[in-house]
Amino acid sequence: MADSERGVVRLWAERLWGDLKASTDANLLGLLRFLGLLYGPIDTSLPIDQAFRKALRNRLPARAGWREAFGGVTYLLFIVLVATGVLLSFYYRPSAEEAYQSVQHIVSGISLGWLMRDLHAWSANLIVIAVLLHMARVFFGGAYKPPRETNWLVGLLLLFVIFAFGATGYLLPWDQWAYWTTTQGVDVVGRLPLLGDWLGELLRGDPIVSGATLSRFFAVHVILLPWAALGLLMLHFTLLRKHGAAARARVQHGQAGAPANQGVPFFPHHLLRSMSVGVLVVAIAITAAVLRPRDVAPPADSAHPPKVLHSTWLVADVSRALFHYLGAWGFGAFLLLGLALVVLPVFDRSPDRRLRQRPLIAGLGFAFFLGFALSWAAGWRLRMTSSERELAPLTRPALAVDSARTASRAP
């Protein structure tokens, strides 16, 4: 390129940049704050680029370290799920007739389609682990205490949204595992007292799980829940910015030997750390997707339950284990324990975040998280064997589980 041409391009670029800066103001950065991509207050008196640089230098609370990364990891996995989900929806057909073949096509006919699908499935598992770790950190760190109660509530709603995402997405491949696990789950809901029948009908849209169910699950998964998640996330980040990240208990009591709000700046330290964690998480997700792909089971057959029912989502494992070992009442008790967490900030209002000061709460929390982990381990071992008797829809008394038997159709 000749010098004069280079000069012209540079001039044009500078003009463009100047126009952009002049036409926006720092308030636009508020959107980035909403989306959780910036910390700290925005100085709206400055032009956008200077306000951006100033915001980047914002400092985190002291001693904020790796534990505080789980929230970000959850968010990253959510973004991965959204991105892979959008790509999948380019090819997926949400009807009972075409769903299975469209998934087959994605997995075998489209370049890197298998990666999108397996990454989506694995991220759905990893996000549950990440969100529970994040929740555990907040819980045991006492970061739900006033003035952060609303944020705790919003966080719990986000947890339910994540579970709902997984539950609705589970059905979409429309193979035997998807179909019959969903049938069992909706049957369980249908057996709740009072509202059970109505809820079951609402979820299914038909007396049995059918194309009607698929349609509404798809609509919830792809339209309803993303909006709910977006709204809740924005609220979550806003509240977080408003009250600031909760300092650790030792810092709070001046025991860390550093001023309370003199942590590392967001840029470059925290950003580099977050980025490292993020990169590793995505690498782990891709590794899991490659080494343990989500198989395509036989196509859904509403007349014949499969002989072996694999679970590909850990919440399904957990639910199944709870039912198997504790029955419906045990499952309900565990749910209540989880719901009790909602009202937690009402009872635990003291500003002291040390665990020692709140042993009962700590005990309850421990029970919940440990219970979850144990149920997952137990559910992992359970391989479901079905007979028509056990999986007869709608009128079964309880989920029964037999020991694994391999299917053999050869005479």
Binding site: W114, Q262, L272, R273, L280, V282, V290
Partner: protein, 438 residues
Amino acid sequence: MMRASRLLVIATVLLAAATRVEAQTTSQPSTAPATEPAKGTGHVGAARAWPTAGADEGNRCLVCHSAQREAASVGVHAEHGVRCVDCHGGDSTSRSLPGAHGNGFTGRLAKAEIARLCGSCHSDPNRMREYGLPTGQLAEFRTSRHGQLLFGQHDGDAPTCTDCHGTHIIYPPYDARSRVYPTSIPTTCARCHANAQRMQKYGLRTDQLEQFRTSAHGVTLFQKQDFAAPTCVACHGAHSALPPTRTSISSVCGGCHQLVAQAFNAGPHGTATRTGRLEGCLGCHGNHDTQRIADTTIAAQCDRCHGGDTRLHQVGIDLQRRMVRARSDLRSAEHAVERLAATGQRTADARFRYQSALTDYLQIAQVQHGLDLDRVEALEGRVSAGSIELDRMALTSEETRWEHKLLLLPVWFLALSAVALAGLSLRTVRRTGADEAP
């Protein structure tokens, strides 16, 4: 006080009993408008007038014969208006005993007479046409061993119609309450044939039902409720019950197992059966305790007769080896189809190939009864080829998946580099003091 209440209890009980009695005598089905009640018209064996559903007044037999009350409304004869007098004679309207037991009353009949009585309607095509029932039962029965004993030798222990079908409450064979419903037939026959005392006279064994229950046929019938399985009558005949002779056994089994019987008859064992040296199918399979012979025991079966002959012993071993291999090839073919499906490939073509292999495998089981070893070899070869082809398809698909693993190399290289760079950058930043508070 005590006495009064006790009297009250007794009075209530009596009243209830009386009400019940009244209710039962008045609960007659009236399926036709009340007509003249039918009267018994004569001796046993003569054709009777058409039975008509009588009015309540017409069936006073039940006033005394209360044990038969249920039979007046339950069962196929009651439903079609056959009443007491139609078989026993007498006058059902009479209020006096001599009157009721007059008019050609036959009372309790002898066994041979029972058969003729039943036959008086059930062998008459004109009567049975309306119900679509066959009319050859009595004629067949006369030819059966039971009939020969009853009519020929006047043996009082031989069965007659009522011994199998019931006396007063009879259900049609398709009714699950019937004594001749498929799953009930074996126990009905066993009422006599499992009774050691009764069978001693004829020198018959009594363990047939016990054996049948454990047999493949018995399990299919009783546990799987599959009525394609034979009951006693399928092999022995129902009314013409006779044990099959040595030479006819294969034909009896071949009635259902047609292709197997064809192959068997064409082979050396068929020849042996025709010349009386082998009891047909029973030679290997047993009669009442018929079992499937597992692939892995074929050679042992052959050795039971041919163990002494080295060549035939080897034939048995070869046959077993081929069948076992064919089965395991079929299993791995099935597994290959599942592996293919799991990777997301379309499986219509693979399933078609599997069906071909399955058909070939099923033919081996039939063909080997004729000991056509060349054909067995050919079929086994085809099952094997099909299985190899499917395995190849599954393997190709899995190799594609394996190639996905190569992606991990660049991914981890980039990830670790990024982390390393971040770490270095962080260290530089710290060292140059860029993290001091502004």
